[in-house]
């Protein structure tokens, strides 16, 4: 064998300065007596292939989603014109009825493809005009395909995208000649209109929302007085007068704000745009309704990149629109991260303390064995069962109790007595605590006995030994358990649907009203968002790209959280790096 010769020659004439590492020894697999190595390696390769394939699918679709596609204008044999973004294509088997209506030539092509025809799915948009977003176009229907300039894609606040041309422009109440306005000028007007829209929204949601909040608060305070003192008491009458006065004041404030919003709306109505779809039908709408628009076929690569990043920006920083199939996922990102962190806050002490008792204090006997087996079995309980438990125990029993004690004035509408981020986090903490207990126990038992003895021999108590010597040393292992728990918790959806995740949460769990953190509020979650967009929306085809993007984001978020935990763990580990003895 050539390898052998090479090795021998190395031995025979050692070159000066040649070290042992530069020699290579290879052996036949059969000669090493490891024929099963192929089996083991094959299993690993298969596993890696599955994971990589999954990730490539998610990332490829996720990354490509926001890239602007060209708009094709397809003229059909029937004379109809269809304009849209080609989304995907497939082959299908035309039925007999359809085949009969085709020309001889088309039938021959289909026959030569063993009866299959090819078709393309176009995203035509204009739901308000067509009652559908997508349209299949078969190859045999097509007379010609063009990508003409001047075709625009408009993303609208409502009704999804509009594909067509700009037919008219009304600025400040006057109809303008379109030739005076190039795209940049229209875009400038659109951005100004968008700013007005945002301002109206700010006034209506934030400022009027604040006034409403204080009004509600005043009413609740009054109700509280009624509950505490009765409706006939002097205190109640006093409070009633004060509340009335307060509400009148707030009402005045509200009217001022409403008038301000109305003024801006008045201006807004004077800026309008007329859009024309490919068939010639027109639609007029306020300029502020348009979130983003671009001439799909006239964009340079830089222009496309600008649209791409602007869409990513919107996705990451704004709220969903259009039943979650458009817009952003910021509330869901926030909900996912907040829920996971709150879960860790609960699960870490609970799991570690349990493991400490089981491993360090409890007398190792039958009872402890039973507890340990039960903990391991808990890890196998279906997560939906935890969800049911969380709803029944945390939300209804605990939360109901809290409501009755602390928020009687709000009843019958529940405060804590329904799903919320606190109950969701607690449910997930229960779900993941077995992982933490098992990992922590392993980590504790891996601390060498000599360390404990060294500390105890110095006159330390068991607790001092645990706190100063054992726990720091077990910390990397405990962190590993927490990381596993976090990954499991952040990706869990089923139990959350019962204990507080909603399709659209109008308010984040953190805001400017005392006490600033509202753990009783329901929240949005990326995992549930995927389910909702993919399977619960009116048009699953429209939601599909969002499913990929959201999945990618959820994966990235979990990787990010795990990476930071692993970074902390490795820094802890470094302290024990030299402990060879």
């Amino acid at each position: 064998m050539s390898t052998n010769t090479e090795t021998t020659s190395n031995h025979a004439e050692p070159k000066p300065g040649m070290n042992a590492a530069s020699r290579r020894y290879t052996t036949d697999l059969t000669a090493t007596g490891e024929p099963f190595l192929w089996g083991l390696g094959g299993a690993l390769a298969l596993g890696i292939l599955l994971v990589v394939g999954f990730l490539v699918l998610i990332f490829w679709n996720g990354i490509a989603t926001f890239w602007p596609k060209p708009i094709e204008v397809v003229t059909l044999n029937s004379g109809t014109v269809v304009a849209g973004e080609p989304t995907r294509d497939n082959v299908f088997k035309p039925g007999d009825g359809l085949l009969e209506r085709l020309t001889e030539q088309d039938r021959e092509i289909i026959d030569s493809n063993v009866g299959f025809a090819h078709r393309v799915l176009y995203r035509t948009g204009n739901y308000d005009l067509y009652n559908e977003d997508f349209r299949w176009v078969s190859d045999f229907e097509i007379a010609k395909v063009e990508t003409p300039p001047g075709m625009y894609l408009f993303e609208r606040q409502e009704w999804g995208v509009f594909i067509g041309r700009i037919a008219g422009l009304v600025l400040d109440g006057e109809s303008r000649n379109l030739s005076d306005y190039d795209r940049a000028a229209i875009q400038e007007q659109q951005e100004a209109a968008r700013e007005r829209f945002e301002e109206i929204r700010h006034i209506e949601r934030d400022e009027i929302g604040e006034v409403n909040y204080y009004m509600e608060q005043a009413r609740l305070d009054l109700k509280r007085v009624a509950l505490d003192h009765g409706r006939d008491s002097g205190e109640y009458r006093q409070a009633e007068r004060e509340t009335e006065q307060q509400i009148t004041e707030l009402q005045r404030e509200y009217e001022q704000l409403a008038a301000r919003a109305e003024a801006i709306k008045e201006t807004d109505r004077r800026y309008r745009i007329t859009l024309e779809e490919i068939g010639g039908e027109q639609k007029e709408l306020p300029l502020s309704e348009i979130v983003r628009f671009y001439p799909a076929n006239d964009l340079s690569p830089f222009g496309k990149a600008a649209v791409y990043f602007s869409r990513w920006g919107e996705f990451l920083t704004s709220e969903p629109r259009e039943a979650n199939t458009e817009g952003g996922v910021l509330p869901a990102i926030f909900g996912t991260v907040a829920m996971t962190l709150i879960m860790v806050v609960f699960v870490a002490p609970l799991g570690v303390i349990t493991a400490l008792y089981l491993r360090e204090y409890a007398k190792q006997g039958r009872l402890v064995s039973i507890v340990r087996i039960s903990v391991n079995n808990l890890a196998g309980v279906p997560s939906i069962v935890y969800g049911v438990f969380g709803l029944g125990f945390f939300a209804y029993t605990l939360g109901g109790g809290i409501d009755a004690l602390f928020y009687p004035e709000r009843l019958p509408s529940p405060t804590f007595g329904t799903g919320g981020i606190l109950w969701a986090s607690l449910t997930l903490a229960l779900l993941t605590v077995p992982v933490v207990i098992v990992a922590s126990e392993e980590a504790l038992s891996a601390v060498p006995r000599s360390m404990r003895e060294g500390s105890l021999a110095c006159g330390a108590s068991t607790w001092q030994t645990l706190r100063r010597v054992v726990l720091p040393r077990a910390m990397p292992g405990i962190m590993t358990g927490l990381i596993l728990a976090m990954a499991r918790g952040a990706g869990e959806v089923a139990p959350l649907m019962l204990v507080g995740v909603v399709k659209l949460a109008p308010e984040l769990p953190v805001d400017g009203f005392f006490p600033y953190v509202h753990l009783e509020r329901s929240f949005m979650h990326l995992g549930f968002h995927i389910f909702d967009v993919g399977f619960q929306s009116r048009n699953s085809e429209a939601g599909k790209p969002m499913v990929y993007v959201t999945t990618m984001l959820l994966l990235a978020l979990i990787v990010l959280m795990n990476a930071s935990a692993i970074y902390i763990r490795n820094r802890l580990k470094k302290r024990f790096a030299g402990s060879a003895f």
């Binding site: 007398k363 190792q364 060498p448 000599s450 360390m451 404990r452 003895e453 060294g454 500390s455 105890l456 021999a457 110095c458 006159g459 330390a460 108590s461 001092q464 100063r468 010597v469 720091p472 040393r473 302290r575 024990f576 790096a577 030299g578 402990s579 060879a580 003895f581």
Partner: protein, 277 residues
């Protein structure tokens, strides 16, 4: 294996160590062990041990593996309490106070004894924190006290010159021999009465071993040292008195030189001449 050795446990001669040529200290005895027995569950590991350990001297425990010398040593500061199955009876006293009496505060008992283990076991802390650990668990926070103690203990363990500029570094960054001397410094930091050493040099190279032996020699007089060793030369070099144990029994206990040159019993002479063990 020698026939005499195999038959030994049954015909172990009745032997009163106190009557033997133990080098006595002018300060009296620190440890008094009387008829001490120990069981792991149903298996008896120590049989009727009776010995007196003189104050301020070095006492070596030798014997083949499994003879119970480490077990005996660990009984002195009740480290065997950590093992659930251990039962003991008989009397063991340090400075006239019972170790296994009712209501003995194990923690304060351990504070009066320093222990050095077979493998160096410094904590994952700085050198400084390692040394002052016994004071930390006592709740001492006075910086000057801690610094003084650290210096005294490190000087005592002949480690001060090597470490005085790197006290903030991790104790795990040192060499094996240094780590073991760090553990000795930790053991003497709280100024204990007794220093228990369980084969302190067995995991070290010859140079580090020599340093440890030198150190034991220097500590003689300040502390009463009980050292378990596998290495008979080491016992001969460092100790004043030597106890030979075999299969859980104390066979012979006496002045080191006499025991090695002129053992009273055949078992002892067989062991020290290397015929078994």
């Amino acid at each position: 294996m020698n026939a005499t050795a195999e038959a030994a446990p049954d015909e172990a001669p009745k032997f009163n160590p106190t009557a033997y040529h133990v080098t006595k200290s002018d300060q009296g005895d620190i440890l008094d062990i009387r008829n001490f027995n120990l069981w792991y569950d149903d298996v008896q590991a120590l049989f009727d041990i009776t010995m007196e350990v003189p104050r301020g001297l070095v006492t070596a425990l030798i014997g083949p593996s499994g003879c119970g010398k480490s077990t005996l040593l660990r009984c002195i500061n009740r480290m065997n309490d950590l093992i659930d199955e251990v039962r003991v009876d008989g009397r063991m006293a340090v400075d006239e106070r019972d170790i296994y009496g009712k209501g003995v505060d194990v923690i304060s008992l351990r504070k009066r004894m320093g222990m050095v283990f077979q493998k160096p076991n410094p904590f994952a802390m700085s050198i400084f924190e390692n040394v002052v650990y016994p004071l930390r668990v006592d709740g001492v926070t006075d910086k000057s006290v801690l610094e003084d103690t650290c210096e005294r203990a490190l000087r005592g363990a002949a480690l001060w010159e090597e470490t005085k500029d790197r006290l903030k570094e991790s104790g795990l960054s040192m060499s094996g021999g240094q780590q073991q001397r760090l553990c000795i410094a930790r053991a003497i930091a709280s100024d204990p009465e007794v220093l228990l050493m369980d084969e302190p040099a067995s995991a070290l190279d010859p140079i580090a071993t020599a340093k440890i032996e030198e150190l034991i020699d220097e500590l003689r007089g300040q502390y009463s040292i009980v050292i378990v060793t596998h290495n008979m030369q080491q016992a001969a070099r460092v100790s004043d008195n030597t106890a030979f144990m075999y299969l859980g029994r104390l066979i012979e206990f006496g002045h080191t030189e006499t025991l090695f040159t002129n053992p009273k019993l055949k078992q002892t002479s067989d062991y020290i001449s290397g015929r078994f063990g």
